[in-house]
Symmetry: C2
Subunit: 606 residues, 2 copies
Amino acid sequence: MSLRPLLDFLLYDWLQAEKLAERPRYAEHSRETFDAVLDTCERIAREKYAPFNRLVDTEEPRFDGEKVILPAATLAASRAYAESGMLSAAQDYDEGGMQLPFTVEAAANAFFALASVSINSALLTKGNANLLLVHGSPVQKAVFARNEFNGRFSGTMCLSEPQAGSSLSDVATRAVPDGDGFEADPLGPRFRLTGNKMWISSGEHELNENIVHLVLAKIPGPDGKPIPGTRGISLFIVPKKLVDTEGRLTGERNDVALAGLNHKLGWRGTTNTLLNFGEGRYPVRGSAGAIGYLVGEPHEGLRCMFHMMNEARIAVGTSATMLGLAGYYAALDYAKNRPQGRPQGKAGKDAAAPQVRIIEHADVKRMLLAQKSYGEGALALELYCARLVDVQRTGGAQAAAEAGLLLEVLTPIAKSWPSEWCLEANSLAIQVHGGYGYTRDFPVEQYWRDNRLNMIHEGTHGIQAMDLLGRKVRMEEGRGLQLLGARLEQTIARAAAQPALADEAAALTDAWAQVLQATQAAWAGGEPERALANAVPYLQAFGHTVLAWIWLDVACSMPADGSAAAQGRLAAMRFFYRYELPRIGAWLAVVARCDSTCLDLPEEAF
Amino acid sequence: MSLRPLLDFLLYDWLQAEKLAERPRYAEHSRETFDAVLDTCERIAREKYAPFNRLVDTEEPRFDGEKVILPAATLAASRAYAESGMLSAAQDYDEGGMQLPFTVEAAANAFFALASVSINSALLTKGNANLLLVHGSPVQKAVFARNEFNGRFSGTMCLSEPQAGSSLSDVATRAVPDGDGFEADPLGPRFRLTGNKMWISSGEHELNENIVHLVLAKIPGPDGKPIPGTRGISLFIVPKKLVDTEGRLTGERNDVALAGLNHKLGWRGTTNTLLNFGEGRYPVRGSAGAIGYLVGEPHEGLRCMFHMMNEARIAVGTSATMLGLAGYYAALDYAKNRPQGRPQGKAGKDAAAPQVRIIEHADVKRMLLAQKSYGEGALALELYCARLVDVQRTGGAQAAAEAGLLLEVLTPIAKSWPSEWCLEANSLAIQVHGGYGYTRDFPVEQYWRDNRLNMIHEGTHGIQAMDLLGRKVRMEEGRGLQLLGARLEQTIARAAAQPALADEAAALTDAWAQVLQATQAAWAGGEPERALANAVPYLQAFGHTVLAWIWLDVACSMPADGSAAAQGRLAAMRFFYRYELPRIGAWLAVVARCDSTCLDLPEEAF
């Protein structure tokens, strides 16, 4: 099963990605150049990623006392990715980039996530460098960002701490000015950092010359104490090895020490670490603390960090999606080849008849169609959001603003929905395999384990839900919600004009009305604690409604050519409307009445 | 968190288990003797099981070329269990048993599943020996069953084959008479078996003196060919080592060879094997084939094997349930101790305020209450079914027949419902732990992996669903369904009389009507293929309705003492009615209209 026809359909038939080349920034591009990028990524993923997906699961990163040891395949995958130019694909030509639309970049990266989601966490390096391009000084861009884009350095994002995961306002890492003249360092105002950072992906390894840590820390206020809350947070570049203004290693090791590797349920190709900053293991330049260079203004750290949040969350959603599709393709292949049992009904009663392949059983078909419906729908959503990023970057002022606002509303869904439902798809893929799916001889159990991460990192399900119901649907007096509603109406109008889609158009109209009503009812009392008590069921219902809309919009673009592919997508869309969308009633009911069964229960009663 | 108060409440306050001692078979028993059994099992589970649950996960069984190597803790757990007398707890006093009610046996075994579900698969040994007690000859009982009950031998169930998992009619293992006079062997008619058996738990190990395999195989018909279908299947005892009529090992190894260990996602404390019978690796007594002794009549193998099916499925459901509760207890403990973030609302806006423990967050409460609702509800269901087994065994003729019929209808739910929803509970337990839940430093990821087996073994979800909708709700013209309906009505009447439970009584009335209507609508066309196309959504809706009934019945027995425990259970019941039961509408809709979106989709469209 190849991903390519699905990507081609979504990119070109549905999203009309080739029209992006009409925009000045992408004027050198065409469908041909987009296809060339897709071809390259598909090939590298097939050759350097897919064959090693099980290997990176069984040969987990380990620390030998000096170095973190990774399989050779990890280095090869990481190099091949860097050499493809994908690290800097979105950058300007004069920065060495391709000025590739984000839509195409996201589509191309899907091949890697499908082949081996954890072998090469290039996402963080890109996010890190992109952030520096926006908020860093010219020297910081030249020294750090450029060397991340060319693959010499890799990057991390150091936000969480052992005692502060979802709660960044409790970051305790301190940054103090590094002596007199600290402000005059050409790499940026120089500080000394002390603290611990937890869950740092790729925090320690030997894959590149250097690691550029982007670290959130607090500069003490005039009273010497850290400023409470997120306002006190600043952002620093803390290189593992110190560099000069030309980006050359000075030979000095910075005081960033590996305190431990996290041993995970899945996603084992990516090293995950606890790092100690300034613990004194690698004393540097005669003072205590790890050397860090301020990025942007003091106390603006979170704002800088969140700049890349939408894209990072779209990337997480895409990873979850591709795991879902990877499981689907494996299950489909198995179902087409595994003989077992006989169909229900008269023909099935003949025990002497040969067994049929399990794809002929209705329940196996149901499990496969559910996976297709979740996975393909989620991919469409992710690419739709990626397209919004491009409009935000290159559209006219109003279009860009609208795209930005729509992204704010859709991003929690783009991140959370595939994390939940493509995980469910992976469970169904195991189920299709029966006992074999429970063994490590088949890939599906690993997909399921890998995918379980996605509801946790980059903001848990609960955080996404509170972001959606607490902030996104209310911001600018609900204008994001109205914009989304207008998009739904456009789709509904197109669908209603086609007799074959009229039922779904009506169902979507009704579902959206339920969502709006629940949103209003939740906030009618004006009490955040009660309004948000059922934020997760709200997120689930909102997500299902968004996916129903995406599927209907896709269906409106489907060729009426009677092809098997079109028939399959139409069935996946109908499955979603018939089996999935009706679930929203149960979720929204608790939201609308601010059900407080859980909220009110005292601790001792659990 | 201790399981004991919950068990005591369900056993004594709700099911009034001490009344079982009024029955002649259990007349020597009392609450005191029941409690003594529970005490012993709780202690052994705490000392010999729980400390080694992670160990048996990391030190998976391996084959050194001669022997299967297991951790020493596995042997210790297995011996402690045998020495407790629990292997023969249900047996007659003059067989060395305790004549313990199954209800109490099931409750006592819950401690082991909670502590380490896979370290000691005593279930199969018991099932094997119980089957021989019913269907074996006096010599077979004395030689094999008795030595399984006393722990000298262990037992397996060899049904599946690599090409025949769910489809037993395709069993290809052959059994041919072992020469002249084969019928006169004192251990039973002697055959030679040739074939491969897959997914055989505890198929090879050194924990006991001998392994008693119970093997399904086909005796060729007069034409020399195996009889097609399940009618051709016979049942054989195939000991790993041959024994004499006194149960002493003769020193001869039988031709049962380990062909491979299955490497699983979880449940790794239990060895799972592919066995070759009669491949010639251990030639025995000068002819080809493994020596096996017929149990019962030829061609009656499946009937014999299915005799123990209800109890085995209740045991699987109980395992799934206890994994769900194990995750809940771990998550509850974590939530009570982990500080993170601040509550929503005005009080939460003060960033300088200390962090709260996460159990104070509404969404964490929701995730905990869901786990409690799934896990405690499932345990109640399993014990209810166990109680039916006791009535079936020791009740008057009519009561026994009714209990048997109710068990037929409820067993697919008792097996499938906890497998699905206590797995979901385990996922929520991971989510409560955040990033820590994704690491192997906390137990919850293992519970989730272990629990994923339960939707697969002992009849997959799909098989349970077809059993329920295709057979159980229709057998004896729907009398099982009517009996269940009558039980629901009794509960509804009791609940309706209490103002605090009137809403739930009405909701259950409505839900049951929906189930009945969908059952009828599914079969209205009389086409099995269409009726059963949505058997799994039917199973899900039926299961949720049964659980709602169980919870309401439990609530009717709850003391109005205002205790925290009673308050918690009432909330868990209400959670189920408010958050869970409303889901059935979406599931039943596709059943009632025989939705054929999946069934009709041709293979090439996937």
